[in-house]
């Protein structure tokens, strides 16, 4: 059986052969990667959109369907985004069974402990509050930082987080407080043992709500669709 064999003596390969082999292995490897990427890209895209659809209905409690909108910088109006349009600033309007607007879902992104965290949060124009939050992407430490998705006390922060608009900014920007110190409806209670991740979530919501809530609040009528 020639299973075990001796290594070829050093120096028996010319520089040309070395380059040739490494180059061809490299080419084959890149072809493999590119074809896997091309093959899985539509599936992954579909998974991501499906996950986002679920998240939208999750963060706007009464919603049963949703529609994507995009801010038109020139006119300051929100306009329905066409089918398949992808943009970081998409705003999703959620409608109930009667087709009435029940809330908006917006995305926020910020640096967490290991990598960027991406979340989606629901805004209720009637209550002027954030009514839900869902983590779309995070590489936070399993069992610690990822508790921003599972910790019941933390997710309770987003059941009714006050973002009342006053003039063209928030009356009380969202604040992060230490675990158990929440005393105002616009404060987010942190998680002990996951301070960095929970603070990061609060910070990105602070940024995103500060910029977007006044904008969407002014233009709530843009989202009413063709009722």
């Amino acid at each position: 059986m020639s299973d075990t064999e001796t290594k070829a003596p050093e120096g028996d390969s010319s520089a040309g052969k070395i380059y040739g082999v490494v180059l061809s292995v490299g080419v084959v490897c890149s072809l493999l990667i590119v074809s896997t990427y091309e093959f899985t890209k539509p599936i992954i895209q579909r998974n991501k959109i499906a996950a986002r659809e679920l998240a939208i209905l999750d963060v706007i409690p009464a919603a049963v369907s949703s529609e994507a909108y995009l801010l038109d910088e020139a006119s300051g109006e929100f306009q329905a985004a066409g089918e398949g349009v992808e943009d970081a600033n998409l705003v999703f309007a959620g409608y109930n069974a009667e087709g009435e607007l029940v809330g908006l879902a917006l995305g926020a992104r910020g640096m967490g402990y290991q990598d960027y965290i991406q979340v989606l949060y629901g805004y209720s124009p009637q209550q002027q509050a954030i009514v839900g939050m869902s983590v779309l992407e995070s590489r936070e430490t399993p069992g610690l930082g990822d508790r921003i998705q599972t910790d019941a006390n933390f997710t309770a922060n987003f059941e009714k987080l006050d973002v009342t608009v006053e003039g063209d900014k928030l009356a009380h920007p969202i604040e992060f407080v230490k675990p158990g110190e929440k005393s105002e409806p616009w404060q987010i209670d942190g998680i002990s043992g996951a301070t960095i991740s929970s603070r990061a979530t609060a910070d990105m919501l602070h940024e995103s709500t500060g910029e977007w809530i006044p904008k969407v609040h002014k233009r709530t009528n843009d989202f009413r669709g063709e009722e």
Partner: protein, 216 residues
């Protein structure tokens, strides 16, 4: 001495069993400690990481064994890394396509399979010197051995650190979790305890064999 020396082994059983038990990558060879300590805080993570690693190990062993005659020795490590990194990238895309939730749970650790010295070690010590059949059995054995090692840690850490097993709560709400078991020190504690236990068992078995030998 990293290669199984048995000649003409039927069906590569020895190559397989060696990896699972006698030369278990986690408890005997103590290889690939980064994922062993980092991703084993829950049973599911350990299982998924073990399966992903075993898959990459199998693919890389096959590829390296196939290419072993044409890879010049001077650039073998570079080529192995290239091959391994390719399979890791493929696994990363496949997991995203299969389940985004699983991908979310494993996070950055999938990419780190590239630097798992177990895979490079098997490519260099075994697959580059042996035919495909034996390399496949070696990869299956080592992969399963690694998976078992990860599970041993993951199960203990999840039960103690989170009061659950594969996501199902097994202790009541009043159970006070040992958060430290979820943290890196918990990985070291658990690994240390397992190594202690396995060495103690081995010593006991050796002592028993010696006693029996002496009484004859």
């Amino acid at each position: 001495m990293a290669v199984g020396l048995e000649k003409d082994v039927p069906l590569g059983t020895n190559d397989f069993l060696d990896g699972v038990l006698k030369r278990n990558p986690v408890f005997v060879q103590v290889l690939g400690m980064c994922p062993v300590l980092a991703v084993t805080n829950t049973g599911i993570n350990a299982l998924a990481m073990g399966m992903a690693t075993a898959f990459v190990l199998l693919c890389s062993n096959i590829a390296v064994s196939l290419l072993r005659k044409i890879i010049p020795p001077q650039v073998r490590i570079v080529t192995y890394i290239l091959v391994i990194a390719t399979f890791v990238t493929i696994v990363d895309y496949l997991i995203q396509a299969i389940s985004l939730d699983l991908h979310k749970a494993l996070g950055a650790f999938i990419s780190l399979i590239v630097v798992n010295c177990l895979i490079l070690g098997r490519a260099e010590a075994f697959a580059s010197k042996n035919g495909i059949r034996r390399s496949v059995f070696d990869a299956l054995g080592m992969g399963l051995g690694f998976l078992l090692g990860l599970l041993c840690l993951g199960v203990v850490r999840e039960i103690m650190g989170n009061g659950s097993l594969f996501g199902f709560r097994i202790f009541g709400e009043s159970y006070q979790e040992w958060t430290i078991m979820m943290l890196p020190p918990g990985g070291f504690f658990t690994l240390g305890a397992w190594l202690l236990f396995i060495n103690w068992m081995n010593q006991r078995r050796a002592a028993k064999a010696e006693m029996e030998g002496a009484s004859k």
